[in-house]
Symmetry: C2
Subunit: 317 residues, 2 copies
């Protein structure tokens, strides 16, 4: 069985790093990730460059990434203006965040949840009128809780998901950018999402802030989720929580899925080569993950590609 | 539902640290863990003090811990001599490691697997003849793979478990001291363990070497495992793998279980106080865990004890 690991490091990771990685370094990293077998990469964010100068080169990065054969090039757009830019740049897929928490929505994209849902509808109309017709995915952020509001009502999350599908989104995923999700909650919410949305139920975007990332993946797999966002080295996450790691670490996720017999198409040695580019491009930036420290271990075998070296995926010291 | 988190830091953690913690510091830490709600603590190892000088005070630590009301005092014993010492000291429970990998067994306790199984039988006879009749738990190490042999045959693991139960062990658990386990394998092996051993099926001793610890807990919970070893700060683990964290981190495990609605009886603020003692007693020693960095988060609630502070469990900076 194939599980899609959607690499979000070049977007979610780099937007959280204060330094800006040069466009050619971003493209070298993205090319190495694709060479390692990543089939979908979120390469940038079409947000106003004053808000996130690290993402000011989104057009150039999307265009560069489009040259990589077989790669699905994804970009984030927080609003209609961003969607216009993403379509013009030629992104294959566009993801739009919609927060289930009103306070977070206002703080994050300066729209109420209702307005953000309507914005997705306008984006889908724009998409329908475009020549390239990119996929539009909506990601419900704070679906598992919010640092401002605390608990978020699960019925509300599901109502928002249904509304987003009704607006024309191709898929609706659930997102835990603050690491509040627990496995029981992940099972409950994705079970309901599948029941309500069927084929439009999207993937899981999980953070490892409380060390629960892979535990939540196991729970999500159990209820049929087949797409997971992750970032190389776990970069990304919450700049307000010192010591908090960010996204789930792609390397550790790939090890887990492959060991479980689930095919990701991703090669751990290829990921180590991509990690070396990332590390060299952001010297001193902390990179997370266990697998790059210890290697795959004796007897590790990919789900469909057979045995790997004991040290597979181990980063150069 | 109650889940037993068995704290193994004072044994598995401290035996991996090169420095020796003074007996009174160990007892202060153990008392703080018990005050936080830990109901079972593995306080030491009755191994020859030449091999592990950090554990040379096992008698004194067991005797000191016995004074803590309501605490189940557990100790490890690798052989009959250790079991004699543990019984004489008054341990409530004794855990004996039996390796499923012949090479690991010889390296670890200088017995073949067959000899180690027979040793458990002799230990049970000794226990039966004792006045205190402590519980004897066998833990099958390398149950999920071995750094020397690689893959370990699952049928062999189950045969060993059945043999150990037949020798009179009160329970037989499965142990992954090297972080090779994956969630699919955990489900398979514990499902078989329960089918073969019924009430004698024991808990899971999982390490976080590849970041899979809590993911494996979720898998084990799914097939009915209700006892998990963990160590405060994740101390312990493999000295041969630089960068590899050790046991699953008690604080992160407790957060996960409580958030899932599973009662552990353990208070995160109490754990933070215990962690301060550990940190002060081993200055400079790396302590792991996400929860102590970021706190429980807004809206977190214990399974049966209600809401906690947002910063619950956060260690002092």
């Amino acid at each position: 069985m194939f599980i899609l690991v959607s690499e979000v490091g070049p977007r979610d990771g780099l937007q959280s790093v204060h330094r800006t990685m040069a466009t050619d370094r971003k493209l070298a990293w993205i090319a190495a990730l694709a060479a390692a077998g990543c089939r979908e990469i979120e390469v940038g964010s079409f947000v106003h460059p004053k808000l996130l100068p690290q993402m000011a080169d989104a057009e150039a990065v999307v265009r560069g990434a489009l040259a990589i054969p077989g790669l699905t090039v994804m970009a984030l757009a927080p609003n209609l203006k961003g969607v216009e830019r993403a379509i013009a740049a030629g992104a294959h897929k566009i993801t739009m965040p919609v927060s289930a928490s009103e306070s977070h929505s206002l703080a994050n994209i300066r729209m109420t949840t209702e307005e953000a849902i309507a914005e997705v509808g306008r984006a889908c109309a724009l998409r329908d009128a475009s020549a390239t017709r990119p996929g539009i995915e909506a990601g419900i952020s704070t679906a598992f809780g919010c640092t401002i509001e605390g608990r978020v009502d699960e019925d509300r999350v599901i109502r928002i998901a249904v509304a987003l599908a009704g607006q024309g989104a191709d898929s609706v995923g659930l997102s835990d950018g603050v690491g509040y999700a627990n496995p029981a909650q992940v099972k409950r919410l994705f079970t309901r999402l599948h029941a309500e949305l069927g084929d439009k139920a999207g993937g899981a975007h999980l953070h490892n802030t409380r060390g629960q990332g892979l535990a939540n993946v196991v729970a999500a797999l159990d209820v049929g989720v087949i797409t997971f966002d992750a970032s190389q080295g776990g970069i990304g996450g919450c700049p307000y929580s010192p010591g908090a790691t960010g996204n789930i670490v792609t390397e550790d996720l790939v090890w887990m899925l492959e060991a479980m017999g689930l095919d990701t198409g991703i090669d751990l040695d290829g990921m180590a080569r991509a990690r070396a580019i990332l590390a060299a491009s952001l010297p001193g930036e902390p990179l997370y993950g266990h697998l790059p420290d210890v290697g795959a271990g004796k007897g590790f075998s990919y789900a469909t590609r057979g045995p790997a070296m004991e040290t597979a995926g181990k980063a150069a010291a």
